[in-house]
């Protein structure tokens, strides 16, 4: 079963098509990275899924409920963090979370323990300053805490780490990683490193159109270049001249002690390269396949 399904989802603002014919399926239990440059339509999708905006074409389902028809049922089961979370300026963090707990009808010991956990998690326990005086990072942490108040089945997070310091970012990513076993997380971000760290599936959006949806692992496998990086703790001239005269080597480039070898036969090179290094008695520091980063894949696809 899928947590989110969109079918030919579209959204226009006047004559401007913000989203065109988007089809994605987010499997239950996955951490799904939703990527795209600014203005690609990511936030429009988030807003449609949460009922804040209406699609102009197509349809969407969240946890089996029709978006636009079963708004209350959906809202009971999701947690949503918008890109710029905003709160009642006169409330403090404990009051805002208590208000959210009231909206979900939480009461008794469950309510108390949930509030204590989230205040502790957000680092805002005992912070009685009104939220009007919060920094962006504090607002982001409170925003994440309120999204978790109902222990949701599906978390929709729009740029959850963009305003956080490295420590806060690590905590949020760890939290997402921990949640991945029991919940579905739909994560929109432009920080590709975050996606690489926690997501198992990604979709890419450009100019309102879905251009790719895949497993992160298979996406990387599909984009592996036949390139090896060899790091030698010594002179590399001999290695370069030997490789340059080898039949299956397509290109050799070097920088300081690292040799980058592009090959025409990946399997043969994987076996032969260590042998060549050994024959030349070179002190090997590192030998690795040139797996592209998500950023490299992203830039390649967008180009």
């Amino acid at each position: 079963m899928n947590a989110i399904v969109t079918r030919d989802l579209g959204k226009r603002f006047g004559s401007f098509p913000a989203l065109t014919g988007l089809n994605i399926s987010v499997p239950l239990g996955s951490v799904f990275g939703f990527l795209g440059p600014n203005g690609a339509g990511k936030t429009s999708v988030m807003r449609i899924l949460t009922g804040l905006a209406r699609p102009t074409s197509g349809e969407a389902e969240v946890l089996g409920y029709k978006v636009g028809l079963d708004t209350l049922e959906i809202s009971r089961k999701i947690g949503y963090l918008p890109e710029n979370p905003a709160f009642y300026g006169w409330m403090n963090a404990p009051e805002y979370l208590a208000f959210c707990a009231d909206l979900f009808g939480l009461f008794g010991a469950d309510r108390r323990s949930r509030l204590d956990y989230l205040l502790d998690f957000s680092g805002l326990a005992g912070n009685l300053r009104p939220t009007a005086h919060y920094s962006r990072g504090m607002r982001q942490r409170l925003g994440i805490a309120q999204a978790l108040i109902n222990d949701p089945e599906l978390l929709l997070l729009d740029e959850p780490t963009s305003a956080l310091d490295p420590l806060g970012r690590k905590e949020v990513l760890d939290m997402i990683a921990n949640l991945s076993e029991e919940k579905t997380v739909f994560l929109s971000t432009h920080i590709l490193e975050d996606v690489e760290r926690v997501c198992d599936r990604v979709a890419m959006l450009n100019k309102g159109r879905g251009i790719l949806e895949a497993d992160l692992a298979s996406l990387k496998a599909d984009h592996i270049e036949p390139v090896f990086l060899i790091d030698i703790d010594g002179p590399i001239d001999g290695l370069i001249s030997r490789l340059s005269s080898t039949e299956w080597v397509h290109e050799v480039t070097a920088s300081e002690r690292t040799v980058r070898v592009k090959v025409s036969d990946f399997d043969q090179a994987q076996i032969a390269l260590p042998k060549i290094i050994s024959e030349l008695s070179l002190p090997l520091r590192q030998f690795k396949v040139g797996t592209p980063t998500l950023e490299e894949i992203f830039l390649r696809i967008m180009a």
């Binding site: 809202s75 208000f99 909206l103």
Partner: protein, 253 residues
């Protein structure tokens, strides 16, 4: 709904809303009898030594009450609009509402909770202003007709709640407080003008209530005079709330 009502009550207690409207209504309630009572003495002191003779009729409690209603109809109503125009639209424009409506909350319940709590607070403030006006008038003039003044306040109260309802409805429809305020002010001026357009509108339109409140302190209002404009006010308020609810439900936040 209970959670939303609780939040609105706490918001009143924790913000300027706790004192702003009650303080203004209290001021208007006390200043009307005071200025009516002291005006002859003030004029006399100003004109002392000059060869000017101004004969003023003896001030009465009726004039004090009429001055109170005239102030409430102008300053009081503007204050109601100013303090209510951002109730929903401001939360929309800051993004606060977007985070609330993605939780299990009916937008109609949100509108209704604000209308109930803030409408009740306005009505309580009116009681405070009217009560202070009556007691101070009684203290200064020695007599004041309670039943007439209470009935006139009831009629004015209906008109005030109508204006509040129109403002909160505009706040639900418009995305910015300034738009809501502009729409509410236009409605206020239109309602104020309607009674002067025809005798039928003078007797039936909601704007007739302001005239009835002013004249009601001189002679006891008859229920027959007030029932039609009260009914038209209630009808218009209900229509505005339903329309705003439908528009709010369909809005993108």
């Amino acid at each position: 709904m209970t959670a939303l009502i609780k939040k609105e009550v706490i918001e009143i207690v924790r913000t300027h809303r706790l004192w702003s409207i009650p303080a203004l209504f209290l001021f208007l309630g006390l200043s009307a009898p005071a200025t009516t009572w002291f005006l002859p003495a003030i004029l006399e002191s100003q004109l002392q030594g000059q060869d000017v003779l101004i004969k003023l009729p003896e001030p009465s409690e009726i004039e004090a009450f009429q001055a109170y209603f005239k102030n409430m109809i102008q300053i009081g109503m503007l204050a109601v609009i100013l303090f209510s125009m951002g109730l929903i639209s401001e939360e929309k424009s800051t993004g606060v509402l977007g985070m609330v409506v993605t939780k299990p909350v009916r937008r109609s319940a949100l509108l209704l909770s604000k209308w109930l709590v803030h409408g009740s607070w306005l009505t309580s403030s009116l009681v405070l202003g009217a009560g202070s006006c009556y007691l101070y008038t009684l203290a200064l003039f020695g007599e004041a007709h309670l039943a007439r003044f209470a009935l006139a306040n009831l009629v004015f109260g209906v008109y005030m709640v109508l204006m509040f309802t129109l403002t909160i409805a505009a706040s639900a429809i418009f995305s910015k407080p300034i738009g809501a305020g502009g729409a509410a002010l236009s409605a206020f001026f239109t309602l104020s003008l309607l009674p002067s357009l025809s005798s039928w509108l003078r007797d039936t339109s909601p704007g007739a209530l302001s005239n009835l409140a002013v004249t009601g302190v001189r002679e006891t209002l008859s229920l027959a005079d007030a029932i039609v404009p009260i009914s038209s006010s209630v009808f218009l308020a209900a229509l505005a709330l339903i329309g705003a609810g439908l528009s709010f439900k369909r809005q993108e936040l």
